[in-house]
Symmetry: C2
Subunit: 214 residues, 2 copies
DNA sequence: GTTTGTGAACCGTTTCACAGCA
DNA sequence: TGCTGTGAAACGGTTCACAAAC
């Protein structure tokens, strides 16, 4: 029964946005937020926020709002970000390097534990404090380092092979930056990040808007 | 009446995936595809594909499928990707550089026409054949180069200011890589690409799956 | 007065099922 | 037989509206 999730996917997605806002407000020293404030920050309505939070934890107090600390905790545990997820990047090209350099992940429940590449010339180099390893070490390193997430940052032609190697090595989920649909076993969720699709979405919205004006 | 679009957003999003598949099949020398084939490639059902394509153009032939060439053309014009969209990157950090290097955009209706940065040390440098310009040139360059899309690749703290500058300079849409919700006028669509949200989505799906097994 | 929690109504998308064409 | 196009039904998420709590 795959996909029989406790909470709707759109809700889960918005949770990330709430989390972002909660952390920012916590940093500003505040203690509570209202559903309206969260909604504005996340681009939704207050009603939507209350519905979403209803499936999480009942920490809201009428007339006051939500306690930031406990709500943050509740969302973190709901979306499974309590102790850091260890991830490996495959592909030490531009995107791989940019991701490796993005140290901020670490503060938010994710940790880049290794980076791999196929090219002999690249293996052994140091990127953001990590030594690039060859693909043949994949299985070993994934096991030894407790890596659960694989990040694919290779050219589209190689993506499917890398996906298979990652699954064989034992990762539990894949973040895919290659513009290709991966075929992986049901038990391994995949999330695609596709720049081109994002640009196309934007282009569509812009031209849609321009068409309206006519 | 904003958002009164001719076609549903989910449909528009899937169009990108269809396009990807169509181009690949065209490159393989094929002439037609069935709704089932497109559906498999895009992770949907054949019925969904037919519904989606119904709002585009009637080029499907029962018993045969869709003509790849004319369907590609129809989708391109529907989502507004006929002649190249010119875009500018703001932020010559890791992500900005990775995007600038991603030459493949060019083949698919998008063109990086300029890259900007604030830091004096970076301005003037060459990145992937583009000379980095200072922010003060933004308005001029956007106008002169016919830039319609702004890509934000700066730290979150700076994102809102950059967004405002881009809007003031006249861009029609913004692709935002900073993990911050931008507030921009209604007439300027924004699409967010947030690595952290993507990772959290993945983490959620993995832990959801693991919870099921219990 | 403010803000939550929630059943009920609403709305848009997805799925179904089948007639019609090649 | 293979596949499209499309009404109609089913589904799931969003919005509404209001009683209850502070």
């Amino acid at each position: 029964m795959p996909g029989r999730s406790r909470i709707p996917k759109p809700t889960a997605q918005r949770m990330s946005l709430y989390l972002r806002e909660l952390e920012q407000r916590a940093a500003e020293g505040r203690r509570t937020v209202s559903s309206r404030q969260l909604g504005t920050a996340a681009g939704t309505t207050d009603a939507q926020v209350r519905k979403d939070l209803g499936s999480v934890a009942h920490v809201g107090r009428p007339g006051v709002g939500y306690d930031i600390a406990s709500l943050t905790e509740a969302i973190r545990s709901l979306i499974g970000v309590v102790q850091p997820w260890r991830a490996a990047i495959v592909g030490a090209g531009n995107i791989g390097r940019a991701l490796a350099a993005y140290r901020r992940f670490h503060d938010h429940g994710f940790e880049i534990a290794a980076i791999f590449d196929q090219q002999p010339g690249v293996v052994g180099a140091r990127i953001s404090g990590l030594q690039v390893r060859g693909m043949r070490d994949l299985k070993d390193v994934v096991a030894r380092e407790g890596i659960r997430i694989g990040i694919i940052a290779v050219p589209p032609e190689a993506a499917q092979d890398v996906a298979q190697a990652l699954v064989a090595a034992g990762v539990r989920g894949i973040l895919n930056f290659a513009p290709r649909r991966l075929s992986v076993p049901d038990g391994v969720p995949t999330v695609d990040v596709d720049f081109r699709s994002a640009l196309e979405r934007l282009a569509f919205e812009v031209s849609d808007l321009e068409a309206e004006d006519a």
